[in-house]
Amino acid sequence: MVNLEELKKEASQILKEGKVKYIIGFQRGSNGLLPVPAFIKNPKDVEKLVWDPTCVYNLTLFLQDEKRKKTKEKEPDERPVGIVVKGCDSRAINVLLQEEFIKRDDVYVLGVSCENTGVLDEKKLAKKLKGKKAKKVEFGANDDFVITTEDGNIKIAAQEVLAERCLECKAHFPVIYDVLIGEKTKRNVENPFKSLEKIESLPPEERWKFWKEQIEKCIRCYACRSVCPMCYCDECVADTINFVVTPDTSAEEKAQKIKWLEKSPVSSENFVYHFVRAIHLAGRCIDCGECERVCPLDIPVRFLNKKLEKEAKELFDYDVGFDPDKPSLVSSFKDDDPEDFIR
């Protein structure tokens, strides 16, 4: 059982000792069920910290801001940042370490276990409660969630309201941590890529119809890019600057500012954007599912990334985010990589 008091105690202690600059965690929001990110500097504020199945966000996203801020400062505070991570988020830290985006000394990882379950899918819960409003969700004793509504407590089996990705989770506990709160539990997942089968089993034309319908919806709000802890490029190929070529434009400028894709949200351009994102996340996506959660048009973005995760596993036997010392997927190779598709 995750002991919240333990987390608070640990957090307050490292803040008091001055071990960390601040702590990124979850706190109750003022609106609705979901919490909001908390940035805690004062040891007194650790009482705000929460950890329950509603903490769906991947907080490692904020390490990007931290890094940007640090590079701008003249005399940066070199102390690490405390961060509360779940199993999936901890793998994001591993990938960031692997890419040397952050150093191990930059973070103090407060790992929390998902207690054999995972986090909630808000939509699933809303359906389940049929109009009743949940006020609070807590981990139950036997792989279930205790949900507090206006009419009292309800127990729901976790499997029924878990987020899709949690049903296919490979690590229910942080794989990298300085302090672990909770137990290292492991639930057996038969097939971590089961959700893909539905699309994969379709004939190619049906698959095309499905994806065209989905990708066509995209309005290019780039919410998926903004929320992704792995999308940290300073400049994205999707943000093509409106570039006017004049007689004075140098060849170098022309070469550097290529308009790879149009900004207009039409199917062909959306496809290029989503392909590029999927390929950039190949071997890096840790399946935190944030892209899909924030999508205002409910595009199953996760299935694109998941597919490449599956191929990485099947073709190259590559697991994402378990070992920060391993070379990344596309910066390494084996002599016997499959080449049956090559003429």
């Binding site: 698959r207 207009s264 190949a282």
Partner: protein, 140 residues
Amino acid sequence: MAEEFEPKIVAFLCKWCSSAGSDLAGVSRMQYPPNVIPITVMCSGSVSPLYIFSAFNKGADGVLVSGCHPGDCHYIKGNFYARRRIALVKKLLEYVGLEPERFQMSWISAAEGVKYTKVIKDFVQELKPLGPQKKLRRTQ
């Protein structure tokens, strides 16, 4: 009679092997279909997936990436990286429902002019029944 559909193929050829191979086919006066638009790149490993998506986006009916045979790369291991990356791109394109024949990879050495013509001939043969690529093509 309606004209037969002539596919447009964009071929990314590495400078050291495949491009030299296509040159050999040319100077040896071997016959092969004129449907290819060759683009010489320094190494098959330098072909960004974005080039491939962009080619389809701008109206290519087929894309070919060709490099040196494994072990022959001028940059020692560029084509090994390419092999991995292209495998992922191929899987992704097939996953969204693009015909697998439209995107191909080959190893062609500088001495294999004949193989180059064969690859192109086969590619064109396979693309003809598929018709123009409209799925990823920019419409506006």
